[in-house]
């Protein structure tokens, strides 16, 4: 890598030659808009919105795909550039049917921002996609063809990132369309949605139902949420990460009209206990198969069920924290408060789209009731705040309601070894009389596999071989040597739930790292 000198809009800039024009511009606070470029994926250069003029070159160049060269002179705002860029934005706008009034992307809509900033004429063309289908994947994800702008990020997410390959591009030219492959096979991870610039791929929203329940005087509506949303929701309101927003979120819930607000710590404790016992049974009593797989992540569970059913019995039967928590609310709390369970509506607020699917699983029912009624994503929550003029960032602090008397702090679930760490501690507890703090797990990256870490750990006289996988894209390589591990935790999304499919847009590698730091104060190794 060598340093070179270039000029953008007459401003001299020293930069490394390995970067694209867009990257250099961004670093230097020069705005070049683009709709198809995403740093999680390789460059596609298909929207043609990011065009710039390079002095001495005949054609305009797309800045996302053109590397800087020594002495390059770039103009980002000449008349020629403006004309081309604006026309391409207009063309894209014209193939996207706006459904703004109820679109959660409106919280931070790139398309509306661009239209406004560049004063795009938006009425010259007729909608051409009004007859496009909406494809629904269970109750979790949908792809609305009438809103798709053909950027192909969802395909990259589903194929290159997750290696699920459930989406495909059919047709060509204006008949080109993103469609699902077959009836079943989506794992509901929502990576397509969190990478879609315009909400064409998105979660199937529950906020309408939640709003209705909140207005219903006969209902007791309960919110329960996980820490990952407090690490990211501030992004939707342009706030910095250092503001821990948990207590703000709580008062936001109260303003929205939730009757109770809980964290899921109690549920997490239950998960951890069951999971530790399960592991113990497998390990010592050899009752069930090793290796044991975590089952916190519903996308991972769905993956095993659909693609690798030979491993179903490897999944721990422990329920995920919010399901346990919801069950507790609907049984214990209902009894305490003497309310009819039917009147309680439990809403989980999650960084996750797959949880929407999880809550509909029949086998989770308790006394014929689903433990959780609705799942809102982080995006839906931000949308509800905006919609109700709740000024996030200016709210008074508020504490969660308590589900038990002395609420001791639980390990954060579902982030980088959160569950696994806690389960191993619990194992230690169950195995030994003396309470010993377990050594910090010394995880090592597995060569060549992004998001895969492994460790060996001694508990009592057992050496446990464990692995943590954040991002399901590399799972095959691990399942191929499953006998090398006793215990495997898998989170389907890159970097775990901080990169979940229900998180704010944009979600990129850098942003996921920032969220991790804000959750743990440092990057978890």
């Amino acid at each position: 890598m060598k340093n070179i000198k270039i000029k953008i809009n007459n401003k001299e800039i020293v930069c490394s030659s390995e970067q694209t024009i867009m990257q250099v511009a961004k670093k230097n606070n020069i705005d070049i808009p683009g709709l198809c470029n995403h740093s999680d994926f390789s460059v596609k250069a298909n929207c043609r919105v990011c065009v710039v003029e390079i002095i001495g070159r005949r054609n305009l160049a797309t800045s996302c795909s053109t590397k800087v060269e020594d002495g390059m002179e770039i103009k980002t705002d000449t008349e020629r550039v403006n004309k081309a860029r604006n026309l391409n934005i207009e063309l894209i706008f014209a193939e996207h049917i706006e459904k703004c009034p109820n679109c959660i992307w409106r919280v931070n809509c790139q398309l509306l921002d661009l239209a406004k900033k560049y004063k795009i004429k938006i009425n010259r063309f007729k909608d051409r996609k009004s007859k496009r289908k909406i494809y629904k994947f269970a109750n979790a994800i949908e792809i609305d063809g009438s809103q798709c702008i053909d950027c192909r990020n969802c395909l990259d997410a589903c194929s290159f990132m997750q290696n699920i390959n459930y989406l495909q591009l059919v047709g060509k030219g204006t008949t080109q369309e993103v469609v699902p492959v077959g009836k079943d096979g989506c794992i509901y991870c929502g990576q397509c949605a969190v990478h879609c610039p315009v909400g064409a791929a998105q979660e199937q929203t529950h906020w309408e139902m939640v709003e209705k329940a909140l207005k219903d005087k006969g209902k007791i509506v309960v919110a329960q949420f996980v820490p990952q949303i407090s690490a990211s929701i501030g992004e939707e309101f342009g706030l910095s990460y250092d503001k821990n927003s948990t207590s703000q979120i709580v008062s936001g819930f109260r303003q929205l009209g939730f009757n109770y607000v809980f964290d899921v710590n109690l549920g997490a404790d239950m998960t951890i206990k069951t999971e530790a016992e399960d592991l113990l049974k497998r390990l010592i009593k050899k009752e069930k198969k090793l290796s044991m797989f975590s089952s916190c992540c519903p996308a991972w569970v769905k993956y095993v069920e659909f693609y690798r059913s030979e491993f179903i019995s490897n999944l721990t039967k422990a329920r995920s924290p919010h399901i346990n928590n919801g069950g507790f609310i609907k049984t214990y709390l209902a009894e305490q408060l003497k309310i009819d369970t039917k009147k309680i509506i439990v809403v989980s607020i999650m960084p996750c789209t797959a949880k929407k699917f999880e809550i509909t699983r029949q086998e989770l029912k308790i006394n014929n009731n689903f433990p959780v009624d609705y799942v809102l994503t982080t995006r839906e929550l931000a949308w509800l705040f905006k919609k109700n003029n709740i000024e996030f960032g200016k709210l008074k602090n508020s504490l969660v309601d308590s589900l038990r008397n002395n609420d001791n702090i639980t390990n954060v679930c579902s982030v980088n070894g959160g569950v696994m760490g806690a389960v191993l501690c619990k194992m230690q507890d169950l195995l030994c009389d003396e309470k010993k703090i377990i050594n910090v797990l010394d995880f090592k990256d597995v060569n060549g596999l992004v998001g895969v870490k492994e460790a060996k750990i001694k508990i009592a006289d057992k050496i446990l071989r464990v692995a943590i996988i954040n991002g399901i894209g590399n799972i095959k390589q691990i399942l191929d040597k499953v006998e090398d591990y006793d215990y495997i935790e898998v989170m389907a999304c890159p970097d775990g739930c901080v990169g979940g499919g229900g998180q704010p847009i944009p979600t990129t590698f850098e942003i996921r790292q920032k969220r991790l730091i804000s959750l743990f104060g440092h990057v978890v190794k």
Binding site: V43, V51, A84, L91, G171, Q176
Partner: protein
């Protein structure tokens, strides 16, 4: 003299339409160090109005295969390190399969039939790489260029049928600066002719006895992407893939002519980039509307040649712009 010097001396240019220097391409592929290299002879001939590659395959299959063999020998003497594909459209394949296999014998040349539906873009050089790799048929981002990273990431030499034919002639000292012209449309003596490559359009039409006795215009270099000239502009030589199509002014000086062109491009757009996918669709809408918004029409055309991902975009601009300019400038007064 080695083959590269001979090609340089003959100043061969690619006959697929882009007219890129053959020697430069060959050198570029030769100079990359790689365990595997590929050669592709492009016999997809997808441009409407051009049939000269089919003509060569029919008449001179041994010459064509000889040209490919020369390229194979030039790039590597070790046959495990090199493989050639003859990428051919289905129609030609059916017609000439026997002849070609006979000429190929046991050379490392595989015939690859262009998929049905690969369309116009299936002949574009980076799209045909995708076709052979069984990927979605559409152009690739460049750089890297096929010469350094082509088929399965290996250096790949892609030339057209006529180019390989010329290489064979150059090698045996028989090349005479001639090229194949496809002549068609409203004329009596249509067909493929082999004539000097510096003749003007006028001269070619005279030599082939094809000067119309009615008012006409011509499209040169392909019926989709070729430039359109009126009958007083025939002093130019023939560009692109070497075709002249004659149109009767009376029959074709109308808006329908543009509509047909646009129809073609709308159907052939691969869908990858905004200006081509959306632009050609909107152009088609505009031209069919009662009151044509000419300002927007030309803005969209300009935008296509300025910002489209591959050459298809500018390929659309040339014929439409030149048709309006050279043949039908009064169109905007009528619609």
């Amino acid at each position: 003299m080695d083959i590269l010097s001979k090609i340089k001396q003959a100043d061969l240019v690619g006959r697929g339409g882009a007219c890129f220097s053959v020697a430069k391409k060959w050198e570029a592929v030769k100079n990359v160090i790689s365990d595997k290299k590929y050669i592709i002879c492009n016999a997809s001939e997808g441009e409407p109005g051009i049939v000269k590659d089919g003509f060569i395959i029919e008449k001179y299959p041994e010459r064509l295969i000889d040209g490919i063999k020369i390229a194979i020998d030039f790039l590597s003497l070790d046959s495990s390190k090199i493989k050639a594909y003859l990428y051919i459209n289905n129609k030609y394949y059916k017609k000439y399969y026997k002849k070609l296999s006979q000429s190929i014998g046991n050379l490392p040349i595989e015939i690859f039939v262009k998929q049905s539906g690969a369309g116009y873009i299936g002949g574009e050089e980076s799209s045909l790489l995708n076709a052979i790799e069984h990927k979605r048929i559409e152009p690739r981002l460049r750089p890297p260029f096929p010469t350094t990273s082509g088929l399965w990431g290996c250096p790949t030499l892609i030339n057209n049928v006529e180019t390989f034919y010329n290489v064979s002639l150059v090698n045996s000292g028989e090349y005479r600066n001639s090229r194949f012209y496809t002549i068609g449309g409203d004329c009596f003596n249509n067909g493929v002719y082999y004539l000097s490559d510096n003749f003007t359009i006028q001269e070619i039409l005279e030599k082939t006895n094809n000067i119309p006795d009615f008012p006409f215009f011509v499209q040169v270099g392909g019926n989709a992407s070729g430039e359109i000239l009126n009958s007083s502009q025939l002093k130019e030589s023939v560009g692109g893939a070497g075709s002249i199509t004659i149109f009767s002014l009376e029959k074709y000086q109308n808006k329908k002519f543009i509509e047909n062109l646009l129809e073609f491009f709308v159907n052939e757009s691969c869908g990858k980039c905004t200006p081509c996918r959306e632009g050609s669709f909107r152009l088609n809408e505009i031209i069919k509307s009662e009151k044509v918004d000419w300002q927007l029409f030309f803005d969209l055309i300009e935008n296509l040649s300025e910002t489209s991902f591959c050459g298809l975009g500018s390929a659309l601009a040339a014929p439409i712009k030149s048709f309006i300019k050279n043949v039908y400038p009064q169109i905007n007064e009528k619609y």
